[in-house]
C-alpha cells in the first residue's frame, strides 16, 4: 500500500484537516506521502514535513495552484496517482471540490466521507444524513477517498520527512480566483474545537447571537449555528453545522434554541456530550441531549454566564 494524502493548507500553514487524513492513511499502510500543492507553499510544506509517520512531502509550487482551483489541481493529482494504491483528501469543501474531478478523469468511483476503515478496500460511510451507515467495498484498482475528519484523531507532529519538489502545475484557463470573504475570528475553529456553543432560529437576531459569543468566550468555545440561523442572516454561512454544513464532534455541544432536525443532528450527534437549551420540551433535540434544560434561552444564557463566572475553575 502506498498512500497519497492531499494536504489542505493556505500556502503558509497546514490546515488541521490534513492531520486527520494522515491518521486515516495510517490505517491503510505505512508508506504515506503528503502532497502540498500551492504557490509559495514552502511554509505549508515544511510544516507537513514534521507530521510524524509520513514518508515524504511532495511540494508542487506553481502560480496556477495558488488558489486550489480544481481545474488546475485535478490533472496534477491524476499524474501522481499512478504511483499509489490510495489517494485521500479531507471531506472539507476543499477536498469535496477537488477529488471527484480527479476521480472522474482517472475513471475511479470515489468513496466519499468515510468514517471507518475495515480493510484496504472496504470502508464505512454515513448515508441519508447519518441515519444509516453503509459498508462499501471498492472494486477499483486505485481508490480515491474523502475522509470525515471528526472520525479520525489528528496525527502528531515530531517527524522530519524530506520535502521533494514535483512539477505539474498547469493553468487550465477555465477559472480565475476573484477574491474571498473569510470569516475572521479569534475563537477556535469549529471543526476542531473542544467546546461549541451553537444557536438556532430561537436566537431571533444577530444582536442576540452576540450573547452566545460572550458565553462562548467564557468557555473558550467555538460558535456554530443551525441552517435556520444562517438563512435568517444572524451569522455567516461557515457557522452552519449539519448534513450540508460542517460536521463537528466536540467534547461538548451546547445547542441553544435549536429544534434538532435530522439534518442538524447529522452534523453534531457524534459530540461526546450534548446540551440542549430549548423552551419546547417536545423539541427533538432533547432526545439526543445528555443534559436538557427546558427554559427560555434569554433567561438561561445570562444565568449560565453568571454560574460559570461565580466558581471559575
Amino acid at each position: 500500500m502506498s498512500i497519497l494524502v492531499i494536504g489542505e493548507h493556505d500556502n503558509a500553514a497546514l490546515r488541521p484537516s490534513t492531520l486527520n487524513v494522515v491518521t486515516a492513511a495510517k490505517a491503510l499502510g505505512s508508506d504515506i506521502d503528503v502532497l502540498i500543492a500551492g504557490s509559495d507553499c514552502q511554509g505549508a510544506a515544511d510544516e507537513a514535513a514534521t507530521i510524524a509517520g509520513i514518508t515524504r512531502v511532495l511540494k508542487a509550487d506553481d502560480a496556477a495552484l495558488s488558489d486550489g482551483l480544481a481545474e488546475n489541481m485535478a490533472p496534477l493529482v491524476q499524474s501522481l496517482a499512478e504511483n499509489y494504491s490510495h489517494v485521500l483528501a479531507p471531506a472539507t469543501t476543499y477536498g469535496k471540490n477537488l477529488l471527484p474531478r480527479a476521480a472522474a478523469i482517472l475513471d475511479v468511483q470515489q468513496i466519499s466521507d468515510i468514517s471507518g476503515i475495515e480493510s484496504e478496500d472496504t470502508f464505512v460511510r454515513p448515508i441519508y444524513a447519518g441515519n444509516a451507515m453503509a459498508t462499501v467495498r471498492s472494486n477499483d484498482a486505485l481508490k480515491l477517498i474523502t475522509v470525515r475528519t471528526t472520525s479520525f484523531e489528528a496525527a502528531e507532529f515530531g517527524g522530519a520527512a524530506p520535502v521533494e519538489d514535483v512539477s505539474g502545475g498547469t493553468n487550465a484557463q477555465l477559472s480565475t480566483f476573484a477574491g474571498e470573504e473569510l470569516t475572521r475570528s479569534e475563537r477556535p475553529e469549529l471543526t476542531t474545537a473542544d467546546i461549541i456553543v451553537s444557536g438556532g432560529r430561537g436566537m431571533q437576531s444577530s444582536e442576540n447571537f452576540a450573547m452566545l459569543e460572550t458565553l462562548a468566550d467564557k468557555l473558550g468555545a467555538a460558535v456554530g449555528a443551525s441552517r435556520a440561523a444562517v438563512d435568517a442572516g444572524y451569522v455567516p454561512n461557515d457557522y452552519q453545522v449539519g448534513q450540508t454544513g460542517k460536521v463537528v464532534a466536540p467534547d461538548v455541544y451546547i445547542a441553544v434554541g435549536i429544534s434538532g432536525a435530522i439534518q442538524h443532528l447529522a452534523g453534531m450527534k457524534d459530540s461526546k456530550i450534548i446540551v440542549a437549551i430549548n423552551k419546547d420540551e417536545e423539541a427533538p433535540i432533547f432526545q439526543v441531549a445528555d443534559y436538557g434544560w427546558v427554559t427560555d434561552l434569554f433567561e438561561a444564557i445570562p444565568q449560565l454566564e453568571a454560574s460559570l463566572g461565580a466558581d471559575a475553575s
Partner: protein, 249 residues
Amino acid sequence: MKVLVPIKRVIDANIKVRVKADNSGVELNNVKMAMNPFCEIAVEEAIRMREAGSADEVIVVAVGPSQSQETLRTGLAMGADRAILIETDPIPEPLAIAKLLKAVAEKEDPGMIILGKQAIDGDNNQTGQMLAGLLNWSIGSFVSKLSVEGSTVKVTREVDGGLENIDLAAPAVITVDLRLNEPRYASLPNIMKAKKKPLDTHTPEELGIDVSPRLEVLQVLEPPGRTAGVRVNSADELVEKLRNEAKVI
C-alpha cells in the same frame, strides 16, 4: 443559451429513513419520494435565468427508474421546457451518472449545467464535479450566488472559511448550495401544462455507457443511537454537571 439541469428522485427530506431488517439497504417500499431539495434549487435557478433572459431553454434530465418521470414532471411544472429520462434501475453511481450526463451534454450542447451539490440519499457530493472533469469544463461548486456576464459566469461559493468568488469561463458546471434561492411551488395550472411538455426517454445502452457499479454495498446498519439523558433545572446545576460529572469544561 440552453441550460441543462440534472435532477434526482430521492426519499422525501422530511421522512425518517429506516434500515431494512436484512441490512441490505434502507426501506424504499411505500416511502414518499420527492425531488432532491438541492435539485429544486438548481431548477429554480435555471428558470430564473430564462425569465431574466440569460437562458432560452431549460432541460431537466433524470437518470433512474421509470418513476423518475414524476420528478421530471415536477421540474416541468416548475417551468422547465422539456425533459430527458435516462432510464436505468437501480440509479447508478455518481461516476456512471456523470458519464451519462456527459453524453447528453454532447448532444444538447448547453451553455451551462446546473446541479444540486449533493443528493440527500447517498450524500456523495460528486456528480457535478465529475461531470465538469469529464467535459473538461470549469466548475463552480457549492454556489450561493450566480450571475452571467458575457462569456464569464461569476459565482460565490460557500466554503469552510466563508465565501469565495470565482470567475468561470463558459460553458460551466454549477453545483448549488442551499442559499442560492428559494424554489417555487408549481401551481395547479402549471402542473396540468407540464403533462403536455415533451419528455424523451433513452437508455444507457443507446448512449453507449457502461453503468455497472464499482462499489459493492456489503451492509447497511443503523447508526449507533444516542439516548436522552437527564433534565437540569438551573444554570448552576448544568455547570456543576458539565464540570464534575461529564468533566468537559
